[in-house]
Symmetry: C2
Subunit: 403 residues, 2 copies
Amino acid sequence: MRILVLGGDGFLGWPTALHLSARGHDVAVLDSFVRRQYDFELGTSSLVPISNLHRRVGTWHDVSGKTVTPIIGDLTDAEVVQRAFRHFEPDAVVHFAEQRSAPYSMIDRSHAVYTQTNNLVGTLNVLFAIAEYDPDIHLVKLGTMGEYGTPNIDIEEGFIEITHRGRTDTLPFPKQPGSFYHLSKVHDSDNIAFTCRTWGLRATDLNQGIVYGQQTPETGLDPALANRFDYDAVFGTVLNRFIVQAVVGHPLTVYGKGGQTRGMLNILDTLACVELALLNPPNAGEYRVFNQFTESWSVSEMAELVTGALPGKHSIEHLVDPRTEAEEHYYRAAHTKLLDLGLVPHLLNDEVIGSIAELVAKHRDRIDPRVIRPAVQWRPTRPPSHPTSVAADGSPARRESVR
Amino acid sequence: MRILVLGGDGFLGWPTALHLSARGHDVAVLDSFVRRQYDFELGTSSLVPISNLHRRVGTWHDVSGKTVTPIIGDLTDAEVVQRAFRHFEPDAVVHFAEQRSAPYSMIDRSHAVYTQTNNLVGTLNVLFAIAEYDPDIHLVKLGTMGEYGTPNIDIEEGFIEITHRGRTDTLPFPKQPGSFYHLSKVHDSDNIAFTCRTWGLRATDLNQGIVYGQQTPETGLDPALANRFDYDAVFGTVLNRFIVQAVVGHPLTVYGKGGQTRGMLNILDTLACVELALLNPPNAGEYRVFNQFTESWSVSEMAELVTGALPGKHSIEHLVDPRTEAEEHYYRAAHTKLLDLGLVPHLLNDEVIGSIAELVAKHRDRIDPRVIRPAVQWRPTRPPSHPTSVAADGSPARRESVR
């Protein structure tokens, strides 16, 4: 299969590209390196040193004898997208190429606008390229479990059968996303579903949980193939971040009560799920959603798992939650469709924590403790130049009084 | 009340601004005149001649003694929005300032991207301006009944109580919008709801049906106050278009079977609904949705109403539907919340049709029959330069074979 991996220089795109290449697929990666730019902007960097894309694909060729074709460009440029489709002629497209950080999207107006326009326009350009070049191309799009929010009912995989006033229909599962980033994924999902209904495209939307881990069989073959590892409060995911905190003796920073429960998965399962989706494409006109995670953990449970798994004394610090989210809530989400396709999950345990901690310890001199604590607030504080007005009833519209 | 009307030079924005000004509110209108640009692009123009905004507000001052403040600028420019809020200090914002045509959004990739980024960025800028300037400002946002699509269950006003596997929650009503324009309204709704949940903003989302009519008590006071009237296939709404067709002896163009049923309302009720929303604001943190229409009609029923109401012989032509939509479907949508606030609907009847036809007849020499028939197809035909590939199974993914 000829597979175009969009965002193929990133945390999940790069190991996915190698995984698919190792299994005999023809792979091209398209990337604009904007993820590397975010590091410059935020003063962050990958814990594990990473090579540039040209060196990465060159080393992969040396090590495996296989070719991964690099295409440099930005998805929001329609010409770039059209050219990539024309020259590479993909059978399938795996789309990781989005701004993927909720805190980044909440920094301020311009980051919110950037996140939503970047993600939405890139995906629209891909949909139009598929429609124009070959509507049979299977789009595998990375979504997020965060699209659903935390409803008080069981979360299904994309759709729910609703019986209402004596009539029944199967409709898109209602979404309550929790950041401008998560909203951008909902916008994408709606746009993709529309093009399947209207143009007969075929798409798989992978509503992914929170990924932990870093190394895969392929990225471990050579230091120049190494995958990035983010531990900062903006791009680092919760479990990887906790392990870094434990290794450097920083308190584990739990936001609020820590009852926030989320679907989690090992990076190895991300690769397996994407491949399963590719090997089992939907029908023409079908928009399907897989909930891509293997187990649910609360943030407090994860913190306890990490402190229990790693030697030494560790403390847990409950910060005032910088996000607006339920700190305790019902959470039960279906995730059987990928299991039905054959997924064999890698579950979270002390050994997995230990191996990630080992990697972190190896690079501990590269850790900058200043980027670990959250600096982005979901509730913007008004600039001091503005007059501060307080509602007579102290109502929560006045955000200053909420915190 | 100080009310900022965004898109206040348009088909609904202008009469709303005058209506609110006539009732004693302090009104400013913000507009970029992009709607007038669409006319240049499409070779269309308002059936009724309209003055420029400066002449409009000047005449309104002469006629009524009241001031409507014009602000010229584009909502996608954050500085424009911030300056408008700082200088006018609104208590409420009525937001009509979006690309509002479904066919326009379906012209091609660039019109789809334009529609979604224009509408999404403008609304984000307004939300950030409210949050930063004064979170108590009430946002009254125009949405559309088209956000819901045509589910096989009753449509509720924004939210639906769902009982699922023994648990119950009230969740956003599932949406199945039918064009990139309708999708942009869903994106907006999701963004607005998020800012109410997260920042405590207060917003009313008016999911409006299809508006017919043109004149209001205020726009009828002087020719320089006249409202625009669109009859072309891109911006003209169905009933107004049918009346123009009947007046000029053009067959009434029904798309497909004509069983498409939609909520409709008189332009006079749009003004009344917006005012009712403004006078009865939601609580801080509340995102509420009103379905803003007064009665449901199928397209065929409307065509029959028009041919029956107007003298002479008229024919109805069923075109192959240029849209992808159900041509016959269940449709029942709640619309009690505005009635509960006191709305007294103007219903559709022969007399209303007759008075619109009278207006059309007065300007019949300005009608260009070339812009009446639909030219925009929902299913893009592939450019002839592309190789045409046909699926072995003739599957509907191949859009050429669908039509």
